[in-house]
Subunit: 159 residues, 2 copies
Amino acid sequence: MSEQTQLLTNDTDDALRLDKQVCFALYAASNLLTGLYRPLLAELGLTFPQYLVMLVLWEKSPQSVGSLGQQLYLDSGTLTPLLKRMESAGLVKRQRDASDERRVLVELTEQGDSLRASAHQVANTLASGPLLPMTEAEALRDGARKLIGVLTSEQKAEE
Amino acid sequence: MSEQTQLLTNDTDDALRLDKQVCFALYAASNLLTGLYRPLLAELGLTFPQYLVMLVLWEKSPQSVGSLGQQLYLDSGTLTPLLKRMESAGLVKRQRDASDERRVLVELTEQGDSLRASAHQVANTLASGPLLPMTEAEALRDGARKLIGVLTSEQKAEE
DNA sequence: CTATTTTATATTGCGCGCAATTTAATTTGA
DNA sequence: TCAAATTAAATTGCGCGCAATATAAAATAG
C-alpha cells in the first residue's frame, strides 16, 4: 500500500506493529473523514460533532443532554459548551425540563429544523461520488460498529 | 444491535440516518478505542497521539517534524506543541537540522527508547484479550486503510 | 547575484473530548 | 421525614487537531 508500512525494523515486536495498524488506521481514517466533511459543513455553519447532534435531533426533538450523549458517546463536558454555541447560532433552544429540573431539554428551532434540507444536500453530495464501493463502506461501518459494541459493553462490565 | 438504531422517524431521508453513516461509526469507534488506550498509556506518561509519535520514532530516529506529520497525517500546528511536551517529559530531543536550518529533527532520548519495552507490554495486554476476532480486526483495518488511501489521494488530486 | 517563490516550522485562535470536580435536583432508605 | 446516596448538567483544566498566519531558510528565476 503506502510507504510507511515499509518503515519497519526487523525486530520481533509484531505486537507494536499490529497495534499501530488497527488503532492508527481508525484514528487517521476518522480524522481524514472529518476533514472531508469540514468544508461542506462549514457552509451550513456546522462543525462535524455539531452535525452529529443535528442528525440526532432531526430524528427526535427535543431530547435531553444525557440522551444526546448516550447516542453519540459524549459527556456533558463536551456537549454543554457545544450546545451553547449551537444555541447562540440559533439552531437549538436549551431549557430545563419542568418535570425534572436536573435535566436540560435541547430542542430544534425552526431555523435548525430547516437546515435539514441543506444537510440532505451535503449527504447526497458525498454519496454521489462514493468514496468506497458500497460493500467496502458497509464492511467498514459494520466493523466499526462491532468495535463500538465491544468497547461499550466492556465499560458496562467494569461497573 | 443497539437501541439507537430504533430512534428513526419513518421519513425517507435515508442519507441522513445516523446509524447508516459510516462517518459516525468511525468517529465513535476511534474515540472509544482511544479511551481504551488512555489509562494504559497514562501509566507510561503518554497520550494516544504521543504514543503514535513514539511508534513512528521507534521504527526510525531521528526524523523531521514534517516526516512525522506525513506518516500520521498531522501538521506542525498539532505536532510542535505535542513534541515540546514530549521533550519536557524527557522522551525526545528537538534540534534544527544543521544541513537545512528550516527542518527540526526529533530524536528519541535514551529514556524514550527504553520506554519501548513498557509499550510492548501495553500492546500485548490489549492483544491478549482480543477485542475483535482477528479476521474482523483485519477487515476493519483494511477498510480504514482503503478509506485513508482514497482521502489522501483526493487531496493530492485537488492540488 | 539578487528578487521572488517555495518550503519547513512555529504561532495564534477556536472547537472539541474527556477527567475531575462542583452544583443542584431527585431518589432512597432508615 | 429527612439525611444519605444517586443522578444530571455545568464548570475547570489540559491536550489535541486544524485553519490561518508569521517567520525564516532554502531554492529558483531572471
